[in-house]
Subunit: 385 residues, 2 copies
């Protein structure tokens, strides 16, 4: 398990992350495969889109099918038939965003399943034990993720608890073939972020995540905190920005020195009929796509754009056909993967700033009010599902 | 456009059906792609499963996206990105099974859309005009399909009308590169079937379908009628049994000299979590699949069985993951395609009876009461969707 920065350009880094299941060139985007599946796609398919690293969720897998089932079947790689690098989230974020009737104590979090209301306890030790049973290449520390609306005092307490849990995660870890990453918390409070980064890097993790962002705060706040925090993290370790996945945010993250990103945004947006183009996000259900003979995005090299017209996609979405979710997912994921590949190339060639400028000159970010509204809808949907 | 019987064995036929878009070895099963998509699969994928001929539905495509849209985009082949042989149904069956407030007259059928209640008229001439615009290789005559519960008198009238419509279909047809098939009706009344077969073969079609079956009648009735009717159809033309798709029924059909079959059963059953094995149909949601490490069907060569355990499929279905529908569809469709390939090989080798006997010795057909119950549920679902 190693990480090497092979080039940097105006703060952006190109690296190589080596894991027991293969090498991940960075900057890298990780598709979300919460329930041991990247929704609608086979491993063969998401691999062909350029995916090098996939995320599974301990919270979801603990509830269904259960950690013991996956362990019995040979671990998460084998269960989902993916032989490449894999990362599991600790369950921390999901316990705070999905579960019901949470009771947080120093021991851990008692909660009720969002699926059937059954009661459970997740602790740092259990999270590590579960992640060792799942067997991903990269595992995450169990953290507390307070809502964006919490005040400085509440966030400060969450940071302190996250730090105590981080120490327990480190000391309960047994497997040597998994890399454990720490997660910096601290909400929108610069000094808390600084404290958290400093404390966790002193403990010594194999990588550092910036957590507790993209949870409803304005984009300007996200940017300021990422910039502040990334600068405090060790140069020689991977930096992972959790929950970020829109094209403009990925570019912003890379320019601030982030190496790894995960987000359900590209795939969830696809299933809702939103697709990325170099001019911004478009809505396939709009009537003007009804007889549009050209692909979703001219110049895109994905299977969807090479084989189908926007009119066909419009038809599939209107009919709520299963193929629609898949073809749109293929497109959005390929769009993001290609963006990562292009950023990496430009860093290696020393031309990242001009790539960034030229991409952003044509790409119109989603309107901030629309974005926060969609996020709200999205989180309600996740909650009920 | 030609058809040649290359071998026969105890009544079963192996043939070659040549169309402008390629050759279809028979006996052949046609997956249903009503709305210009075989639900959840790409054309690349259903082709790899062994599909040589696909079905589109004029009724569905007329309502969404509209015939003019598909025509403008270059026809159905191009619209759905399928360059192989294609067949369109006339809309007759759907008008009688899906549409609301039907008014049947000699002119045609006035109906309300099952989607938005809008009023439409479909006539033999319009059906042919629409099918010529869609551009399939094989097109079907517009027929009246009375319910199984109709009495002899009502079915007799429907047969007479179907015959008048068949003549109008023939005389309104303009394109020479499409083969028009007639549809024998007559319900469960042997003499009406005999009359219909005799009348239609006198008119002269390029193929003959047996329609109005698999609409809720007992399997024994279906078998008796197919046997009676198939024997009355010309030796040198393809015989197409509409709506039949369970493994045991396909074997029965082939042994009675049928060449082509279509049915939504394998794909719909898959989406409902039912999968075919050589021992019969199984239900993936059953608890004993929870940690079953073996594939759905040992010995199956499909992508699903080569890559995933039954436990993984069980998990995906429990979570209602999109990938579940697709992986189960791949398996069931491959199961049926392979059965067709094996039947063809055994006919060419002169060993069809022993293949049939050995398959049926291990394959337990779905219980008749369960089957009719599932059919009922299925048709209600189709009706509301």
């Amino acid at each position: 398990m190693s990480f090497e920065v092979v080039a940097s350009c105006s703060g952006a880094r190109a690296g190589m992350l080596t894991t027991p299941h293969g090498v991940v060139p960075t900057p890298a985007f990780i598709p979300v495969g919460s329930q041991a599946t990247v929704k609608s796609l086979t491993p063969q398919e998401f691999s062909a889109l350029g995916t090098k690293l996939v995320l599974g969720n301990t919270y979801h897998l603990y509830l269904r099918p259960g950690i013991a089932v996956i362990e019995k079947l040979g671990g998460l790689h084998r269960f989902m038939s993916w032989s490449g690098p894999l990362l599991t989230d600790s369950g921390g974020y999901q316990v705070f965003s999905l579960a019901h009737l949470r009771q947080v104590s120093d021991e851990g979090v008692r909660f009720r399943s969002h699926i059937d209301g059954s009661e459970h306890l997740l602790t740092p030790e259990l999270s590590i034990r579960f992640q060792e049973a799942l067997g991903a290449d990269i595992i995450m520390a169990f953290d507390e993720c307070p809502p964006y609306t919490d005040d400085r005092n509440a966030v400060g307490e969450a940071v302190a608890r996250t730090h105590r849990w981080a120490e327990r995660c480190l000391s309960s870890k047994q497997r040597a073939d998994q890399a454990l990453y720490g997660i910096v918390q601290g909400g929108a409070f610069t000094e808390l972020r600084r404290h958290s980064a400093s404390f966790l890097t002193t403990l010594g993790f194999e990588g550092y995540a910036i957590g507790g962002l993209s949870i409803g705060e304005p984009k300007e706040v996200t940017k300021a905190i990422v910039e502040e925090t990334a600068a405090l993290l060790p140069e020689d370790k991977p930096r992972y920005l959790m929950g970020v996945g829109s094209p403009d945010d990925l570019i912003a993250g890379v320019s601030m020195g982030v190496d790894i990103f995960d987000s359900a945004l590209p795939t969830r947006t696809a299933r809702n009929g939103g697709f990325f183009t170099r001019y911004g996000r478009k809505i396939i259900r709009n009537a003007h796509f009804r007889d549009r003979d050209s692909p979703l995005d001219e110049g895109c090299d994905c299977y969807t754009c090479r084989n189908f017209s926007a009119a066909y996609l419009h038809h599939l979405f209107r009919c709520e056909e299963l193929l629609s979710y898949r073809l749109a997912t293929i497109h959005n994921l390929r769009f993001v993967m290609r963006l990562m590949e292009e950023m990496r190339r430009s860093i290696l060639e020393g031309s990242f700033p001009s790539f960034k400028e030229s991409f952003l000159a044509s790409y119109e970010p989603t309107d901030e009010a629309v974005r926060l509204g969609q996020r709200e809808k999205g989180s309600k949907r996740r909650e009920t599902k």
